[in-house]
Symmetry: C2
């Protein structure tokens, strides 16, 4: 059966009962707005939206479950970057009328499974027909404690730069199956003073300069230290993107304590010092080859 034959109301009627609904939700999917309990005292509200577009973030013919997984995990990776706890998600699905209903159901299975992985409730959304490619926009709301919150802005000259996991080669498989580093990020900010953090989605070559610019510092990277995925080259680690690992800046005074405690807490996930932040000086900054930048033509 195709979407055009089923209709929006019946589609939502079939999808909604399967979505999560926690106790903090006054009213969830199916009404005009989602209405949920506000965050508690001492917490900030955190909001993020992101999208996946057929032909850009996934190729036609990819499994719908994996596409749904990625559509949910991309904004959750930004929650990891902020050390925030995601709670509520809204989905906007734009799909042509000839899209198979079975495909959409698998998409929502992937969205739901990914949300469930981090205790997130899908509380609403919207569907629209489109003459173009399938696109899914996911918006997530959650919270961060005032003393855990970290942005891209606090990096200081002299800070160590660390990345989690391995970089490069994500386009083969990982980009549809990755797990955002929320657990790791929450642990980091609870146990250390993390000066600045972000997630690597466009590649180190595009993302690190953003962190440095936001922190008003420069940077140096030891290319030979980059933790590479098996089979990936240094240039892949810099330019490919879709790694969804954490990049963060921390005082070198914390280096050995961080490395020891990390190895105990997350023995299966490498943590690698890739370089450091430096005084702002344009000629010091390395020219990293570009990561993946939307709308940017190859330079």
């Amino acid at each position: 059966m195709k979407l055009g034959e089923l209709g929006e109301d019946r589609l939502l009627g079939q999808l909604l009962p399967n979505l999560l609904s926690g106790r903090t939700i006054a009213i969830g999917p199916g009404d005009d707005c989602a209405v949920v309990e506000r965050p508690n005292r001492g917490r900030l509200l955190v909001l993020k939206t992101d999208c996946v577009v057929e032909g850009v973030h996934f190729l036609q013919g990819r499994k719908a479950f994996n596409v749904g997984w990625k559509a949910m995990m991309r904004p959750l990776s930004d929650f990891a970057a902020t050390s925030a706890v995601p709670q509520f998600a809204l989905i906007t699905l734009m799909a042509p009328e000839q899209t198979k209903v079975a495909w959409v159901k698998q998409l929502y299975r992937g969205l739901g499974r990914a949300a469930n992985r981090f205790g997130v409730s899908i509380v609403g959304g919207e569907t629209s027909s489109t003459p173009g490619p399938i696109a899914i926009s996911t918006s997530v709301a959650g919270f961060v404690e005032k003393d855990c919150w970290v942005s891209r802005r606090g990096g200081k000259a002299g800070d160590d730069l660390f990345v989690t996991g391995r970089l490069g080669g994500a386009l083969k498989r990982k980009h549809l199956q990755f797990i955002p580093r929320i657990t790791e990020s929450r642990w980091l900010t609870k146990n250390f003073s993390i000066h600045a953090m972000m997630d690597l989605s466009d590649g180190l070559g595009a993302d690190l300069p953003r962190l440095a610019r936001a922190s008003k510092v420069g940077f140096k990277v030891q290319m030979e230290n980059l933790p590479l995925t098996r089979g990936a080259r240094i240039s892949d680690a810099i330019s490919e993107g879709e790694d969804y690992e954490l990049l963060f800046a921390i005082s070198p005074r914390d280096r050995s304590r961080l490395q020891q405690r990390w190895a105990k807490k997350f023995p299966d996930l490498p943590l690698t010092r890739i370089g450091s932040l430096s005084q702002l000086s344009t000629k010091d900054n390395q020219l990293l080859s570009r990561g993946y930048v939307h709308f940017q033509q190859p330079g």
Copy 2:
């Protein structure tokens, strides 16, 4: 200049300084997540996402300012339906690389002007290239006091049904320029016990049955009472959609007080009793011709 020549970072760099930033915002556009102050005590968090797609919600060649206005006002109309106060918005823009940067700037002017009309701050967003039509997804967060909040679910048999404004003919002009009925909705719930409410976006024929279903009641509409836009027919009022007026259910005991106080408070906006809710009984329900339903082929 085209988007593909400018690049995402420079695009955002040009757009962000013009967006609103209130005092409750810890960090706004440009970082991984938006982080804002949580709602106060006694208030619920309200979330809504919606989208506009070229060729579906607006035709190619429409003024970008008006498209931006509509992309912001659609979810705000859902806030009106919930009697909620919108505070923060996130924008996801999906656009082909050959899109003119000037068009995108006008789009954001429209988004910003519409947000400003209701004191909403645009705190973040995402841009993505797409091979398909331009699509804009807008997510809004805000609050509603527990005693003001209204959903589609509380309608009772015997309730009067009212609509604000005039119906039909919105596709000519109004759908790109409408003003969500937030002020009116907030006034209604502060001064009356509104049992159920929604905004009319798909047409009375599609939307009223949704309110009735959610409230588990039937309905009767006096067709001859429908308040028509000049030049519109009854069938336009039922089927065209895009009216963005309020439909609500209220006890008939409140009828005369409501009509008197409304006429004083909003002298330029008609308020019309169009029918009533009834006991649930399939054969009582009128068959309204369908409103605009996404994915539904004409029956």
